[in-house]
């Protein structure tokens, strides 16, 4: 296969899902109705073709073909600063791209029946295509800015799919929670992009001299490398649901099962470790970053395995199981066990995705099995109970029920304190504005022009809303 064909194939892996999204998006905007079969066919075909392209390239790479890079031009450029649309296919990105496209294609085919006659059928496929395009942008990005664009798109699609059943309040609140976490962590990736570009003059990959995976050029000063590494770790923690930011993951299971399978079992949570693997050349020097990654991963693995054992519904248990495995993968990444981490990541994605897809029918089978044997199924994990002292068991159980108190701590103390302070200052600000407006004027009732009088100290019920952990830690008035 010649180099041009390889480049076109590489570009098609990103372009096909993006094209499907644009096509469906234009249809949705104009309200043109298409049959469910057409909608799913567009998305499944796009991902199927993308998977085929990625597999061909992956096979070529396995056969010893050189790393493929493809440029789609410069998006914008001012002075010496340019945003280059560069994509890179190597031993790390191509297997992952093939897996992502294949899973999205399979999930698309599965969802055709699963979401049959669901009012949001088109919306689901639209968001699946957007997520797939975003994930491929992250995976194949040859410039960190491209990864950032894909990162944001994947996060948006994820949040909107958590809130897919938008007529209920809980999914909407959980979708918002996920988005807030993503956005808070995306700041880390943006900061890393800008700082890398500032310190090295470029944020595009270079092909390693030995023909190995493509790498980013690290900054000359190890302190800059450490800062960028920590920023990348912060970004990864949000997507990969690492402690203490992982509270959104079990809540994310409110979305449709197929999207939970592909997002929180497989791809979305894997993007965090993947980003760290891709940027390893930047942060591998300073030992502090590796240590921080190991610490975060280990803490998450321990926390999630303890909390997961107390979950009473299958999807939450699987969410914590995902969190545990991703934590372990983070430890592997931090230790520099690159190949093990990649194999673990791919194997986990495939198996967990299948488990989540299977989960709705599992309880039914569980009951049938119990009826067949005439008694409850024996409990597992007794060996852990024997190892842990009785008092510690009780403490751990309480810890697990409260999900490690992380959500309450974050919402009540970290975010809540800031929100209360800002609202008080805002109320003072509004009082000053009202005084300026009404000073010397006769008192009159304040009418409402299409809005409620919030933000006033008197309108306490809306102006002095607080953030509490009650009810799962949502934002509450």
């Amino acid at each position: 296969m010649n180099a041009d064909a390889q480049r076109y194939l590489l570009l098609s892996v990103v372009a096909l899902p993006l094209g499907a999204f644009v096509f469906l998006g234009v249809l949705a905007w104009w309200g043109r109705r298409r049959t469910e079969r057409t909608v799913s066919a567009v998305v499944v075909s796009a991902f199927g073709l993308a998977a085929a392209s990625a597999l061909v390239l992956a096979c070529a790479a396995a056969g010893g073909a050189p790393v493929v890079t493809a440029s789609a031009g410069t998006w914008f450029e001012v002075g010496g600063y340019g945003f280059h649309l560069v994509f890179a296919g190597d031993g790390l990105s191509l297997p992952f791209a093939a897996l992502a496209a294949l899973l999205c294609s399979l999930i698309g085919a599965f969802s055709h029946r699963y979401l049959h006659r669901e009012p949001g059928h088109l919306r689901f496929y639209l968001l699946l295509a957007l997520f797939g395009a975003g994930a491929q942008l992250v995976v194949l990005a040859g410039a960190l800015e491209c990864a950032f664009a894909g990162w944001e798109l994947a996060g948006l699609a994820s949040a909107l799919l958590i809130a897919f059943f938008h007529e209920r309040r809980r999914p909407v609140e959980h979708g918002l929670r996920a988005f807030l976490t993503y956005r808070a962590c995306d700041v880390g990736l943006l900061a890393a992009v800008v700082w890398l570009h500032h310190t090295t003059g470029a944020s595009t990959v270079v092909v390693a001299p030995d023909g190995g995976p493509v790498v980013f050029r690290p900054p000359a000063d190890p302190r800059d490398a450490a800062l960028i590494g920590l920023a990348l770790l912060w970004a990864s923690m949000g997507k990969a649901a690492q402690v203490p930011l992982g509270g959104w993951l079990p809540r994310a299971m409110e979305g449709p099962t197929p999207s939970s399978a592909v997002f929180y079992g497989a791809l979305s949570v894997s993007l965090g470790p993947y980003l760290l693997l891709r940027t390893e050349s930047i942060w591998a020097g300073p030992s502090a970053v590796g240590a921080a990654i190991i610490a975060v991963g280990a803490l998450t693995a321990v926390h999630a395995t303890v909390v997961g054992r107390a979950q009473t519904d299958i999807k939450s248990a699987l969410a914590y199981a995902s969190m545990t495995q991703i934590g372990v993968i983070m430890v592997e990444v931090g230790l520099g066990l690159r190949h093990l981490a990649v194999v673990h990541l791919i194997a986990h994605a495939v198996l967990r995705s299948a488990q989540i897809l299977r989960s709705p029918s599992l309880i039914h089978d569980h009951h049938r099995l119990e009826q067949a044997i005439g008694r409850p199924l024996p409990r597992t994990g007794r060996h852990l109970e024997r190892l842990v002292p009785r008092t510690a068991q009780l403490w751990l159980y309480r810890y697990a029920l409260e999900r490690g108190y992380f959500d309450a701590w974050l919402t009540d103390h970290v975010v809540g304190g800031l929100v209360r302070l800002v609202r008080r200052v805002d109320a003072l600000d509004d009082r000053w504005a009202r005084w300026l407006g009404t000073a010397g004027a006769p008192a009159a009732p304040v009418p409402v022009l299409g809005t409620e009088p919030t933000g006033h100290p008197e309108g306490a019920e809306t102006a002095s809303g607080t953030v509490t952990a009650a009810g799962g830690g949502e934002w509450r008035p």
Binding site: E167, R183, H198, V425, A441, V446, G450, T454, G455
Partner: protein, 430 residues
């Protein structure tokens, strides 16, 4: 310099405003939309004719007459006309009677008037005129909340400072004059700590008026280039810092609001702060980023604001305290709200991405720590948009009976959303 195309647009808007003021509400809306469409076609179509763009007449001596303004101002005309079309097409009839609609057209005419006559003295007069138009509308609507007094308390000093700055510059004291003008501009941009009028203004005034008044400083930005050129380095640095601080603080204030209009006010303040920061940053990258951000902001924030106005007109008082909408019955309205909001905060695949990216990147060298605060502000603004979307369009089974976009609204929003998405692919900065 006199530019003919903005003059023609200004004349059209003024003529239409006098017709609109005397018509019944439906006719007024129709006339306003026709006029705004004509101005949009003019502003987009004329630059495509090479003979028009190269036309320049240097007569009478000392005066240059061109068809289109040059440089950045050319895009300002297009964005102002597009925002104007959006405002008149989406202003709810109940809160925007013909008199208000006519005033909006006049404010837009003031904005394009800036582009027609690129001179400091007319700029000062038009600056004062736009403030007076808004103040007179607020005074007519006076419902005891003292909004017009609050507005005057801030804008009278703003106009005086701007006028004094212009006079001082003309008599040979450009540095002092530039500082005075910058202070006037900061009040108009609702920068900290002279922002007190703005949240209340957005909460109480008709949203069409808010958008139109927001479009006026855009014309002023074309003069900001020269303003920053006259400003010595320390005040310019201070101007940028005030803008950046406004962006960060307003973002924080916006995300905690429970009233959508107040959240919108702080979102707009934060965006304006980012623009001031970029213009004052002096780096070519940050200035380009600021210009692009401002172009996108005009369209995206106008779309976001007017979809909020449309939703409010359909549903009544809105709150963000609890999710209480149902997007099933208003998918276009919800889609437009989300797309415009995301474009405002620089999401990928929208024009705002390029602008905010350049703005942050351009500030790294000059503001070694402050740029991180800016990235935080950009992130928080995204949270505000998403919180508004989820609260206003999700979380409820009940349908309040509101209908989706009217054809005229869909027409204007399609143009704006299309421009934002095309601008996302082709941001036009090279």
């Amino acid at each position: 310099m006199i530019a003919l195309a903005p003059s023609l647009v200004t004349a059209l808007l003024l003529c239409a405003s006098s017709v609109v003021a005397r018509a019944d509400p439906h006719t007024a809306r129709r006339v306003a939309v026709y006029c705004a469409s004509a101005t949009a076609v003019l502003s987009i179509g004329l630059p495509l004719i090479p003979a028009v763009t190269s036309f320049a007449l240097r007569w009478p001596p000392g005066l240059t007459v061109v068809v289109l303004p040059d440089g950045t101002a050319r895009n300002v005309l297009v964005t102002t006309c597009a925002a104007g079309l959006l405002v008149v097409a989406m202003s709810p009839l109940a809160s925007h009677p013909p008199a208000t609609l006519a005033r909006i057209l006049r404010i837009l005419a003031v904005s394009t008037g800036y582009l027609a006559v690129r001179h400091a003295v007319p700029a000062a007069v038009l600056w004062a005129l736009s403030a007076w138009l808004v103040w007179s509308e607020l005074r007519e609507r006076d419902e005891g909340d003292g909004l017009h007094r609050l507005f005057a308390a801030y804008h009278l000093p703003s106009v005086l400072l701007f006028g004094a700055g212009t006079a001082l510059t003309a008599i040979g004291a450009p540095t002092v004059g530039a500082v005075a003008m910058a202070l006037g501009v900061l009040i108009r941009f609702a920068a900290l700590p002279v922002h007190g009028w703005y949240p209340r203004f957005v909460e109480r005034a008709p949203l069409g008026l808010v958008v139109a008044f927001g479009a006026v400083p855009i014309g002023m930005l074309t003069h900001l280039d020269s303003l920053t050129a006259w400003l010595p380095a320390p005040p310019a640095h201070g101007l940028a810092l005030i803008g950046g601080l406004t962006a960060v603080v307003a973002a924080l204030f916006g995300v905690v609001q429970n009233a959508p209009r107040r959240a919108l006010a702080y979102l707009r303040m934060s965006q304006m702060g980012l623009i001031v920061f970029g213009v004052g940053g002096e780096s070519p990258i940050s200035v380009s980023g600021a210009v692009l951000t401002w172009q996108v902001s005009v369209l995206a924030l106008s779309g976001f604001t007017m979809t909020l106005a449309a939703l409010e007109a359909r549903r009544g008082p809105l709150t963000l305290a609890t999710p209480g909408g149902n997007l099933t019955h208003t998918p276009q309205l919800a889609g437009a709200f989300l797309l415009c909001g995301l474009a405002t905060v620089g999401f990928p695949l929208s024009g705002g991405f390029a602008g905010e990216h350049l703005l942050v990147h351009g500030s790294v060298a000059r503001f070694p720590l402050f740029w991180i605060a800016l990235t935080v502000a950009v992130g928080i603004n995204g949270m505000t948009v998403m919180r508004c979307f989820f609260a206003l369009f999700g979380g409820s089974r009940t349908h309040h009976g509101e209908r989706d976009l009217l054809p005229v609204e869909a027409y204007a929003l399609t143009l704006v959303v299309g421009a934002l998405l095309i601008g996302g692919v082709l941001p036009g900065v090279h």
